[in-house]
């Protein structure tokens, strides 16, 4: 493994929070483009190990591979995430449309979502990511690193696609950047 890749891996290992490309550039003294290439190489290399690279936008971190989950869960004695179906529906609206407001969730699910949003916040599966530019400036929610982790995803792009043709159509018609209210 080349030196830059090793350095990046080591930094991601000691970091206690996701590391941006900018931080990696400062730490290694390499150029942004080199850092990005090294991350891509590392991502591929790590594909077959017990560790994976996880990405959210510009930030990266090292996590365990989903295939090792059983051993890690056994070692940590961790609890399995228990989540109600209602909360999971709310989560899926936010995950696939992020950022999304409570009103977005309610207009799709047809029911009040205050409780499920609070539950998801308390479990750190979603977080506030800003305010919508419209009257009342409602809070926008997005998913967290913990969300990616709990569902064993490397990034939001890995969200499972739905099966029906209508669903596929909706997936395509609602791109991720889509932050407009659903009318």
């Amino acid at each position: 493994m080349n030196e830059l890749r090793s350095a990046i891996e080591a930094v991601l290992f000691v970091a206690e929070k996701p590391v941006t490309v900018g931080e990696l550039v400062r730490a290694t003294g390499a150029r942004p483009r080199e850092v990005e290439q090294a991350l891509a190489a590392l991502e591929e290399l790590r594909g077959s190990s017990g560790l994976r690279l996880q990405r959210d936008g510009d930030a990266w971190r090292l996590v365990t591979s989903p295939e090792s989950a059983r051993a890690v869960t056994a070692y940590l004695g961790a609890d399995r995430l228990r989540i109600s179906h209602a909360a999971l529906e709310t989560l899926s609206v936010i995950a696939y449309r992020q950022p999304a407001t409570r009103a977005d969730v309610e207009s799709i699910r047809g029911v009040n979502c205050d409780q499920t949003v609070e539950t998801l916040m308390a479990r750190r599966l979603i977080e506030e990511v800003g305010r919508a530019e419209r009257p009342g400036r409602p809070i926008l929610y997005g998913t967290t690193w913990e969300f990616l982790e709990c569902f064993g995803l490397s990034s939001i792009d890995e969200l499972p696609r739905v099966l029906t043709p209508e669903g596929e159509r909706l997936d395509e018609s609602a791109p991720r950047e889509f932050a407009e209210p659903i009318e």
């Binding site: 996590v63 109600s84 179906h85 529906e89 899926s92 409780q115 609070e118 064993g152």
Partner: protein
């Protein structure tokens, strides 16, 4: 933890009015894309009537869907319906169908996410225990205070539902029986009378659903002079042959 405290928003397995409607469509092996939604009005009201207790916060949306289904159906079967009214029913139906499609996709996505959870193939990050032995430095007490404030705010909102006392419990069926009994004694009654002095939202909605249900079963006739006027509820058959 938090979930055990949260109030149940699910009524007999239904997550909401769209869920109920989708379930009816699936039960009858119909396709969301082609089913005539108005045709489901009767089945929908029957199921709503069967729900022992509607959750207070959700009941308004159950009502909204119920009344839209009835409206779509009414407009499409009334012989005197104008072209405008029919177009309006079509637009209503298209909008509701679009919402159902979106909701159906959400349900499938939730199921896909559930499958991932069930596989247990999650990732774990490293919490720390840095192998580099450096004493920490540079902590920001403002960030600490902000974290504390956030934690307390979360703890507070998560507990709020406990403070809310569960409202009165009426089922649509009980209310329908009450109204039917009332109409045995007097042949007509106004909607505002049925609502009593200061109705709770829940009581008003359950009363309205009960009236819809009685109308659907042919027990009563409804009369409204003008839009937004008080509705008069009459025992069916009363009117021409008043006693």
């Amino acid at each position: 933890m938090f979930e055990s405290r949260s109030p149940r928003v699910t009524v007999e397995g239904f997550e909401g009015p769209l869920d109920l409607l989708l379930e009816l469509i699936e039960d009858q092996r119909l396709d969301v894309l082609t089913v005539r939604l108005g045709d489901l009005a009767d089945a929908y009201l029957t199921r709503v009537r069967g729900l022992v207790e509607l959750p207070a916060e959700e009941v308004a949306s159950f009502l909204l869907i119920a009344s839209r289904l009835v409206l779509i159906k009414a407009r499409s079967i009334l012989p005197q319906a104008t072209t405008e009214e029919l177009a309006s029913a079509d637009a209503d139906e298209a909008e509701l169908r679009q919402r159902l499609l979106e909701y159906q996709a959400v349900r499938e996505r939730a199921t896909a996410l559930r499958a991932r959870l069930d596989q247990g193939q999650r990732a774990y990050h490293r919490e720390g225990g840095s192998p580099v032995e450096l004493p920490p430095r540079g902590g920001d007490s403002g960030a600490l205070a902000a974290a504390w404030q956030k934690v307390l705010a979360l703890a507070r909102t998560a507990r709020e539902p406990e403070l809310v006392t569960p409202g009165e419990r009426y089922s649509v069926e009980e209310r329908a029986i009450e109204i039917e009994e009332l109409l045995q004694a007097r042949e007509a009654v106004s909607f505002s009378t049925l609502l009593l002095e200061r109705p709770t939202l829940r009581f008003a909605i359950v009363t309205f659903l009960a009236i819809l249900d009685l109308f659907r079963r042919g027990v009563i006739d409804l009369d409204q002079e003008a839009l937004f006027d008080d509705i008069t509820i009459k025992r069916r058959g009363v009117g021409q042959t008043s006693e």
